[in-house]
């Protein structure tokens, strides 16, 4: 879903290098112009249209970001949020992968899990946040549970879809040669499924990261969401915006430099449209 990002036009080399370079320069100029226009409008708005308390200038927000980064607060709370997200993903894989394998290999189990998985994947994130709050109160486990619950359906559905495309011939041959179920699982099913587990993680990453933060806003004593909550309690719009930008920068960097490259590697052997 948030993988559905509008990507810029591709520069094609066929018109000659000079033209391509010129186009590239124009593109960079436009991107920079976009950001400058945005920052300019924002500065104008906070100086002239509204109270600067309501909307602090970009400079003020940058200053706030610098303070957060230089005092070490950033590192500390990111560490907590990341840890909770990863443990949550681990839990989601542990639950979602077997469910997906059942769904992918048996029609009955597919029907059985159809409803819970679609419902779990289609309800708003606040649900998981309050659920975690009810079960654990203010805790570290709450966000972990929320991440696990929100990403589990994505993993299950991807694994089930991945098994649909499994090499039937390989399975039949394994049966013909009387391989044990455990061997088939280990050497055929699991290797097939691993890339799809990853695709599930990648698809749900942005969502899980957001739900993790929401859960921390509701009840936590550390993490990014907790800091956003603290800024809110102090009526600090600059603080909220500063943490928001760190949050967003992290999602974008993660998508561009970790998730997309790894996915491309794992799915090199497939036509591109199957993964998305």
């Amino acid at each position: 879903m948030s993988g559905a990002v509008v990507s810029g036009p591709r520069v094609e080399g066929r018109d000659g290098r000079g033209v391509a370079l010129g186009r590239r320069a124009r593109q960079v100029a436009l991107v920079v112009a976009g950001w400058l226009a945005f920052a300019g409008f924002w500065t104008y708005a906070s100086n002239n249209l509204v109270n600067p308390f309501i909307l602090p200038t970009p400079a003020k927000v940058l200053d706030e970001m610098w303070t957060i980064a230089s005092t070490g607060e950033l590192f500390e709370h990111f560490q907590w949020s990341l840890m909770k997200t990863f443990v949550g993903f681990g839990l989601a894989v542990a639950i979602g992968m077997p469910i997906g394998m059942l769904m992918g290999t048996s029609r009955w189990w597919r029907a059985y899990f159809h409803m819970p998985v679609t419902v779990a994947g289609n309800i708003p994130g606040i649900t998981y946040a309050v659920l975690a709050l009810v079960i654990f109160g203010i805790s570290v486990e709450g966000p972990i549970l929320a991440v696990a619950l929100i990403s589990m359906p994505y993993i299950a559905i991807n694994v089930a879809a991945g098994l649909d495309g499994i090499d039937r011939g390989l399975l039949q041959m394994s049966h013909a040669f009387r391989r044990r179920g455990r061997d088939i699982l280990r050497h055929v099913l699991i290797p097939t499924v691993i890339p799809f587990v990853f695709a599930g993680v990648r698809l749900s990453f942005a969502l899980a990261w957001k739900v993790e933060a929401i859960t921390e806003v509701f009840g936590a004593s550390n993490g990014i969401g907790y800091m956003i909550r603290q800024s809110y309690d102090e009526f600090s719009v600059a603080g909220i915006l500063a943490w928001m930008f760190f949050f967003v920068i992290f999602i974008v960097l993660m998508e561009r430099f970790v998730l997309q490259p790894v996915e491309r590697r794992l799915f090199r052997w497939r036509p591109a449209e199957v993964t998305s």
Partner: protein, 280 residues
């Protein structure tokens, strides 16, 4: 669909004795759905009895009845839906316009791409908190939270739809000098309709999340506020029941209304695969 490792007996082969028929029914898809619902109910009952904070199904049903008969339920939903729909309307208008611009012009896309990406990544809770700080306890707060959360998703979907519009037809209409407003009306809009709809379904879930968050943190009425009130009162039956009310509402709206409309409208298309679209 199934990998065929465990062939299930078809109806024709099923034994005709009553017991055999029951066994066959249990193995059918419908049997699986029933088993699933039953498991969920039993599970709920068990954890409801085991954990003091979680009410049992019977307690929730009773609470639902008390809220519905006193009218609190309907008033809260009416209140929330008011802001929700206004916000969605704004998101739809702005999102479609932005999406068309992003999809039709390379320049606009390069110019605004990063900002839209940032918009996609900002969680609803941040918009909700900012909206409260900006507008206080007013009607504008939930409207702004919904509109800000949902707009980028609609815009991105529409932009994708526009880029999927037939290049040949576009080029031909340019060559024949068809004015841009007619090109949008007769070529682009029809082909992006299902993208608009997909974006709208995203927006509904995202927006529902945002409106509840806005009401939870800074509302004086509505579903989110009610949920918060029961939580603050430490009444977990009331709290869990209200959470279930808003989950059931969004699931029914999405599954029963929006999905059916989508299926009717896009009947002529090949069946699209369903992917989960949780919202935060």
């Amino acid at each position: 669909m199934s990998a065929g490792t465990a062939p299930t007996p078809t109806d024709a082969l099923a034994p005709r004795s009553p017991l055999g028929r029951i066994a066959a029914a249990t193995r059918s898809d419908r049997g699986a759905y029933a088993a699933s619902a039953l498991t969920a109910l039993v599970f709920w009952q068990v954890i409801g009895m085991r954990f003091e904070r979680i009410p049992t199904p019977a307690e929730v049903a009773e609470f639902f009845w008390s809220q519905a008969s006193s009218g609190v339920l309907w008033a809260a939903f009416a209140n929330t839906l008011d802001g929700f729909f206004v916000g969605l309307g704004i998101a739809l208008v702005v999102g479609i316009a932005l999406g068309l611009a992003l999809g039709l012009s390379n320049m606009v896309r390069t110019f605004l791409n990063d900002i839209v990406v940032v918009g996609l990544a900002v969680p609803g809770v941040i918009w909700a908190l900012l909206a409260i700080l900006w507008f206080g306890f007013s009607f504008k707060t939930p409207v702004a939270a919904v509109a800000l959360t949902a707009t980028p998703f609609i815009a991105v979907q529409v932009a994708q739809g526009v880029r999927g519009t037939s290049r040949d037809l576009m080029r031909m209409s340019t060559a024949f000098g068809v004015p841009w407003h007619r090109r949008i009306r007769h070529l682009v809009l029809p082909s992006v309709m299902d993208y608009v709809f997909a974006g709208f379904r995203f927006a509904v879930i995202m927006g529902w999340n945002a409106v509840l968050l806005a009401e939870w943190f800074g509302g004086r009425a509505g579903v989110g506020f009610q949920t918060r009130t029961w939580y603050d009162a430490n009444n977990f039956t009331g709290f869990v029941s209200w959470v279930l009310f808003f989950i059931v509402f969004i699931v029914l709206l999405d599954r029963l209304v929006l999905e059916r409309v989508a299926r009717r409208t896009f009947r002529w298309r090949a069946q699209a695969t369903a992917t989960p679209r949780g919202g935060a």
